[in-house]
Subunit: 236 residues, 2 copies
């Protein structure tokens, strides 16, 4: 009999990056325990996408947990602020965008850490990316290393001197186009994923927010058509 696969907790938003990250964890031989958050995001269609991706990836388990970030506000993704549209790559590169959710990755990784401890897993995957989201403080390698150091002190395994927790961020230094290429090699169906910050009521992507523009430009650079649904006329 084969020995059981090691378990990994994979943060799965339903977007392009996390779907690719999930496929990489699968490719590395982990049994995937996928974790998604219902956090009052305006783009709740992501959660449906997360469920479809989890199914397509054959995960061992998928948990959607509710957290209320609206109570603390502070982002265009959870509060009633305007999502910026039609910005150039240069405009996106200046400062921290209003779509930044304060400490979001820290909150998500904390839950992943808790679940990993329950599962006796020491591997957590997160699809963050330092290049395309250079404005987000919690997408930088130095941040991830600090989280990992903290995690080793936060848990039973750390106290008992067992294996370190590893926070895997396999996309962190990839360009969006390289993420897509890697995902296509691994058979990711990007038609299941959703990235738009401000989708239409039927779940089509707007094609004009920062996230849509990054995605569309990256598919274009790959010479592949993005299979996700866009609002009429939104595709370039």
């Amino acid at each position: 009999m084969d020995s059981p696969k090691p378990r990994a907790v994979v943060l799965l938003s339903g977007g392009l990056d996390s779907a690719t990250c999930c496929a990489i964890a699968r490719d590395q031989g982990f049994a995937i325990h996928a974790l998604s958050f219902d956090y009052g995001q305006r783009h709740a269609g992501e959660l449906g996408a997360a469920r479809r991706v989890a199914e397509a990836e054959g995960v061992a388990e998928h948990v959607v947990t509710s957290i209320d970030l609206r109570a603390i506000g502070g982002s265009a993704l959870t509060a009633d602020l305007e999502v910026p549209k039609g910005r150039s790559a240069e405009e996106m590169d200046t400062g921290i965008p209003v779509t930044y959710v304060p400490a979001r990755n820290t909150i998500f990784l904390s839950f992943a850490l808790a679940w990993a401890e329950v599962l006796e897993s020491t591997d957590i995957f997160i699809g963050i990316n330092a290049l395309d989201y250079s404005g987000y403080p919690d997408c930088r390698p130095a941040y991830l290393r600090a989280f990992q150091d903290m995690a080793d002190l936060a848990t039973k395994a750390g106290v008992e001197g067992q294996t370190r927790t590893t926070i895997h961020a396999p996309l962190i230094t990839l360009r969006k186009r390289d993420i897509i290429r890697r995902g296509l090699e691994l058979g990711v169906d990007y038609g299941l994923t959703r990235s738009c910050y401000d989708p239409t009521e039927d779940g089509s992507a707007c094609g004009r927010c920062d996230s849509c523009l990054l995605r569309l430009r990256a598919f274009e650079a790959c010479g592949v058509e993005d299979p996700a649904p866009y609002a009429t006329g939104a595709r370039p």
Copy 2:
């Protein structure tokens, strides 16, 4: 006109420690933004206690946010495990108790960090204690320092080189009896607080779980009667 008070986020569970911590933050001149969690704890009476303490302490704001830790399980406080009763101080001192909630303080501090960022506050208070809860990995000073290092890399203020986030843990090296003495000096009404891991249906403390026993022994050492309600016959 007086300049406005600096803001602090204070984690407020409704227990003895967090009530004392809140009073210390008030005494230090902070405007208190109290944060409590509805996390599927079996002892939900804590939340009523948190509301009463927040009111008595005259906080600027009190937010109760919902998070679902039951989805990931793993503790007697959130899952269906037996809460240990009647243990001696020596028995409590061995290993990590089943009431340990995996990564709980990391999750709570992450939310506090997010809210502090929204409030433009750099001060977070948490009533953790390294002596009475020596078995909990995330109650140790080294853990807190690592969290603080991570926090500085996780936030906008960190990126922009502004003031460091300070995680205040004023109780961390105090014995329970000294916490109570400090709180009594600051006028904390401990009759409003709840510490029991397994209260009766009417909200009375069981008097026999680790938390009740620590509390009762500490009040006894202070020569003061604990004003909180206990089940009939539960008080020593």
